[in-house]
């Protein structure tokens, strides 16, 4: 049975509070926090980027799963902020963990669902017996134009998943829903993305997540009550709560995986880091529904059942990791992001 054999996550240590950003732009911090459901977001240090985050997450996944990295037959890194437009991030990871040279590697892009797209590819390769292990990573150092609403939520972080057979969490099924819906985009060469404001809601986020989730549950013959946990893509602290409610999930199901209020939107890392936090506390037999969303637009939905093997797995403990933090002011934040040269 194709399965998650290991996982690891990394979120940079630095944080900037909503108040700090609001002060600069003359916004009301309380309005932002209550409107977007966010209090602070992660900030990458000057020498951190998608590659370093992906490598760190990958290293943790390898260490915890204790597999031989040379047996990883595929590595895919999904991101909106690959360091290069041409030159893969995935081979940097492969080299760093010792998976080279006999492997297939490529980078993915599909806004925030690039990581889960890579995960689906690994599932296929493992199921087809073409590889023993595959690794899919979703990682980002998200960019937002200063002063744009996205600045409050665009954060940094990532998670790596090793797919194989007989792991800690079986992947029962995956299904996707994709349409050409340009709610959020960044043209080649542009530093910051643009978005359609309210168009990113109902016709994008909600439409794709609900359709993917409903089709998944229809195929699996399940209802929301059948799941112990539900994890959704988290562009802010409000959308995932609303979509959970729309689908019929309760707070007890989604609260463990909801990290955006305290780390922001890690874009390609978003759902995967939330899933990691969920696996951190999951027990054998727990059933998880996990649905990503990428602008442009599409959702990948996964039906997962935790196995007995999770009891002996050294958990990442995402919530403990992100509790170690250091606050920076706006100027330092700008310096770290490379805006002040």
């Amino acid at each position: 049975m194709v399965s998650i054999v290991g996982y690891g996550a990394y979120v940079p240590r630095y944080r900037i509070k909503v108040e700090e950003i609001a002060k600069i732009w003359g916004d009301k911090a309380e309005s932002i926090s209550s409107g977007l459901g966010i209090f602070e977001k992660s900030v990458p240090f000057m020498d951190e980027d998608t590659a370093t985050i992906a490598v760190e997450a990958a290293r943790r996944a390898i260490k915890s799963s204790d597999i031989d990295a040379s047996e990883v037959g595929a590595i895919y890194v999904g991101s909106e902020s690959h360091p290069y437009a041409v030159k893969p991030t995935s081979t940097i990871v492969a080299e760093a963990i010792g998976a080279t040279p006999y492997l297939t590697a490529a980078d993915y892009e599909f806004a925030c669902k690039a990581g889960t797209a890579g995960l689906q590819n690994c599932i296929g390769l493992v199921k087809a017996n073409m590889i023993k292990y595959g690794m899919a990573i979703g990682a980002d150092v998200a960019q937002a134009a200063p002063g744009d609403a996205l600045e409050y939520t665009a954060a940094a972080g990532g998670a790596a998943y090793i797919v194989g057979n007989e792991g800690i969490a079986d992947i029962n099924y995956t299904i996707s829903f994709a349409t050409d819906t340009p709610d959020f985009w960044r043209r080649e060469g542009q530093p910051y993305p643009k978005h359609g404001e309210r168009f990113t809601g109902e016709p994008a986020y909600y439409k794709h997540i609900t359709n993917a989730a409903k089709m998944l549950m229809e195929k699996m013959g399940t209802k929301p009550e059948d799941y112990d946990y539900a994890v959704f893509h988290q562009p802010n602290g409000k959308f995932p709560v609303r979509v959970a409610r729309m689908l019929g999930f309760k707070k007890e199901q989604y609260e463990q995986g909801l990290l955006c209020p305290i780390i922001g939107n890690t874009y390609s890392g978003s759902m995967l880091v939330g899933l990691a936090a969920t696996l951190d506390i999951a027990k054998p037999g727990d059933r998880i529904i996990a649905v990503s969303f990428g602008s442009g637009a599409g959702s990948d939905a996964f039906d997962i059942t935790v196995t007995d093997r999770i009891e002996s797995y050294p958990r990442q403990n995402v919530r403990e990791m992100i509790s170690h933090k250091k606050y920076v002011d706006y100027g330092t934040y700008m310096k770290f992001k490379g805006e002040l040269k």
Binding site: K28, E197, R198, F199, E202, P203
Partner: protein, 388 residues
């Protein structure tokens, strides 16, 4: 001059209609009105379509032949005209349709209004809407629409003691009415507290004091009264259709606590109809902002100047009050697809006079009025309709 009747009405839902384009909305409203009238395309003699800025919102001008095309009416080559008067575009279109039939020049005329506002982001929509004000001397200097009406609200509060709670009570009433309107954009009931704690847009106007950005279209079919009974038993006829103009700019206006366009259009309408405010059973006014409704019910002569706020707060303009105002939910709750509004107001009054307003029905409604304003008060159209 012949008498004119409304023999058909049709509208789309109002709201953020992501999956319908400008032409989809036009086609839907037009088709519904034609079907309600029980006519065929070939019966239509002329078409008027009101729209504030299809150019600004969807980069499309020349929308009259577009409407003809989506309606499949091109083979009849009827005169088709797009009418613009900012937020009064729909009302002006109605008056032109009325004049065409009343004069005897055309028999069956279809009048529509449409606006597709959600294909641009918020800042662009605000900029397009600002073109209803004086671009060079108001908009360029940073004035937006909420800003213009906020100035009037501030003055009204200063001169007459109108309170933020009274402003809020307009929105509360309209949301209550809108909650019973299946076509309304916002069907959520709100409280005065909800309004006052919503973000400030332009002091003293909060978010919930302001009408929203909306997609929608509405259409009516007009016919000479003497043949109306061939199409409907529930005949609604025009008693009046009046229009007035004033400065586009607020700063050159003769007064800031009222809209002279409303006063003049209203007086003309009552004169044409041979009626007084006491004869009106319900009125749809142009509540682009809560203060606009308060001034409108004063300027139309229903309440003394300065007492509109108190009247609303005391429930006099509720559906079961002595003068129901905006039973549809008004622009605030029903939504404000700019060019469609003036036509949608006529539809609400027509439905009321036909007894087809469902939960919103005003008992024994016989005479209704509509009030549609362009910009901060550059244009106003007032219609009076009677159910016979």
């Amino acid at each position: 001059m012949r008498e004119v009747a409304v023999i058909g009405v049709g509208m789309t839902k109002f709201g953020e209609i992501w999956d319908k384009s400008f032409r989809d909305l036009v086609a839907e409203a037009g088709m519904k009105a034609i079907m309600d009238a029980g006519i065929e395309g070939k019966d239509i003699d002329a078409m008027y379509i009101g729209g504030m800025s299809s150019g600004g919102f969807v980069e499309q001008e020349h929308v009259a032949p577009l409407a003809i095309e989506v309606a499949g009416l091109e083979e009849f080559h009827i005169p088709a005209t797009r009418v613009e008067g900012a937020c009064a575009s729909g009302g002006i279109a109605v008056r032109h349709g009325y004049m065409a039939v009343a004069s005897g020049i055309h028999d069956i005329v279809i009048v529509g209004g449409a606006e597709k506002m959600t294909d641009v982001v918020g800042t662009e929509a605000t900029n397009v809407l600002a073109s209803a004000a004086d671009r060079e001397w108001e908009a360029f200097f940073g004035m937006t629409f909420p800003g213009l009406y906020a100035l009037m609200a501030r003055y009204h509060m200063h001169k007459y003691g109108t309170t933020p709670e009274q402003l809020a009570s307009v929105a509360v009433k309209n949301h209550y009415n809108g909650s019973m309107n299946p076509n309304a954009q916002y069907k959520r009931r709100i409280t005065v507290d909800d309004v006052l704690s919503s973000p400030m847009v332009a002091d003293p106007l909060h978010l919930l004091d302001c009408s929203p950005i909306t997609d929608g279209a509405a259409a009516i079919v007009l016919a000479p009264l003497d043949i109306a009974k061939e199409y409907t038993d529930k005949i609604v006829k025009f008693r009046a259709s009046a229009q007035a103009s004033d400065t586009i700019s607020l700063f050159n206006r003769s007064r800031f606590d009222a809209l002279p366009v409303t006063i003049h259009a209203g007086e003309r309408a009552f004169k044409q109809a041979g009626l007084t405010p006491k004869d009106i059973d319900l009125v749809e006014v142009h509540d682009c902002f809560t203060i606009a409704e308060i001034m409108a019910i004063e300027d139309l002569g229903f309440f003394k100047k300065g007492e509109g706020g108190k009247a609303t707060e005391e429930g006099l303009t509720a559906i079961d009050g002595e003068l129901p105002v905006n039973t549809s939910g008004g622009l605030k709750s029903k939504g404000h697809p700019v060019g469609a509004t003036g036509v949608a107001q006529v539809i609400e009054v027509t439905l009321q006079l036909r007894g087809e307003a469902g939960e919103r029905q005003v008992k024994d409604a016989r005479i209704g009025m509509t009030h549609n304003v362009g910009g901060s008060g550059g244009t106003a159209v007032v219609n009076i309709l009677e159910g016979i």
